[in-house]
Subunit: 248 residues, 2 copies
């Protein structure tokens, strides 16, 4: 029996945003592993074992998944959004690094619609020009590096998408982020706070920096900060493709 492992992205929530590739992998799987609410999106069936686990158990989950595939299982690790963006794919390769025997396994990453692109689409096109994606959690990197990246992105006038902006255990990080923005950007700069995009609980709000408050975000919010050119048109918000001085 030849096993395989797919690290698959379920997209932001709606089944209409799950790719056929991911749906097919789930249909063939013997084992599905992931954070509890993501595994809950997979329908139980005969021949399929669901392995939900808690957050912050990424490396244990990756190890279990690789071991199951090595034993001949058809294994899917599910992430929300895209598995390669602040999700399970890196955790799997991190574990694989220490186990040469697992490096020849049939492992594939199946992309998904990541939260920033789902939120951007719902709002208009705020990421329609150069942008960066920053994880604001300082669980796995020092705060000084987060602030350095934030200041670099603002200085180069990129739009920004923030993942994990505000955890219950360290809410001051997002307040510090807003303070850096207030210090470096004009008060009219547009911010988008998006939650549960594509689900019945979807909530989006677009405000200027002068109106933004830290409690508009929690760990499940995706925050987009526009560049200096990002603006509203009707009920939408978008970043133009051109910057003055083109061709010079």
């Amino acid at each position: 029996m030849t096993g395989w492992l797919c690290i698959a992205g379920l997209g932001p929530g709606s089944e209409a945003l799950v790719t056929p590739e991911v749906r097919d992998a789930l249909a063939e799987a013997t084992d599905v592993l992931g954070y509890i609410p993501y595994v809950a999106r997979v329908a139980p069936r005969a021949g399929l074992t669901l392995h939900p686990s808690d957050n912050r158990e990424e490396l244990d989950r990756a190890r279990s998944a690789l071991a199951l595939a090595a034993a001949g299982g058809r294994v899917v690790v599910v992430s929300s959004g895209d598995p390669g963006v602040f999700a399970m794919a890196s955790a799997v390769f991190e574990v694989m690094e220490g186990r040469a025997d697992w490096q020849s396994l049939d492992v594939r990453v199946l992309p998904g619609i990541t939260a920033m692109l789902a939120a951007a689409a719902r709002a208009g096109a705020p990421l329609g020009h150069d942008f960066c994606a920053l994880n604001l959690s300082d669980n796995l990197k020092p705060w000084a590096l987060i602030e350095k990246r934030l200041r670099a992105a603002v200085g180069a006038d990129m739009a920004m998408a923030f993942y994990n902006p505000r955890s219950a255990s360290r809410p001051q990080g997002f307040e510090q982020t807003l303070n850096v923005l207030r210090e470096t950007c004009e008060p009219e700069r547009l911010l988008l706070f998006a939650r549960a995009v594509s689900t019945p609980r979807e909530h989006l709000i677009c405000v200027s920096l002068s109106e933004a408050r830290a409690d508009m975000a929690d760990m499940g919010t995706l925050v987009i900060v526009g560049s200096s050119t990002t603006r509203r048109v009707g009920r939408f918000v978008y970043t133009p493709r051109s910057v003055p001085g083109a061709g010079s």
Copy 2:
């Protein structure tokens, strides 16, 4: 008759990466507009008019699409990848900005798997930590701004994805990009060149900066430059989730 306009992402090429949401919009459409090779991906059928157009006609195409929707058409503008990432969504909002009567139309952006996430998934997880997406074309912005953003991203040690790295009409831009990287990054820095991901013509190559040459890219290549921590594991390349000094 109530018209609508969807700006839809077809993903990188494979039908297995087209979301059900986009497939359903195409099934209901009366008109599909887009760049010739993207419209060619939509099967002709009775009741559907295909409107292929040339590259660099984005604003005319956006205007035609909004006019067709205003006249009651069920209109889909197709982009490859995600329409909100260096694609048609911003062009539509740009046109809408000058036409208040079009701002109340039923307009939706349907996200897709953008090229950088498809390429990253195929290679492993090179965008598994903070990263930015830069369009290297200077058709719509000055080269000085591109170089400023490039230097900011390198200075803050983000991974980078480059769209439109090298046009036939201005091949020197990507050579300049490589020169900036050679000046600012270690020679072992990893670069991924990806073309036609998920299609039969898929081609990926991962090289160190010291091995990279400008002719490895053309306008259809997606280039990913790792951060200083990006590394190989077996046949994969990934960026670890952690950076030394976390929690400090």
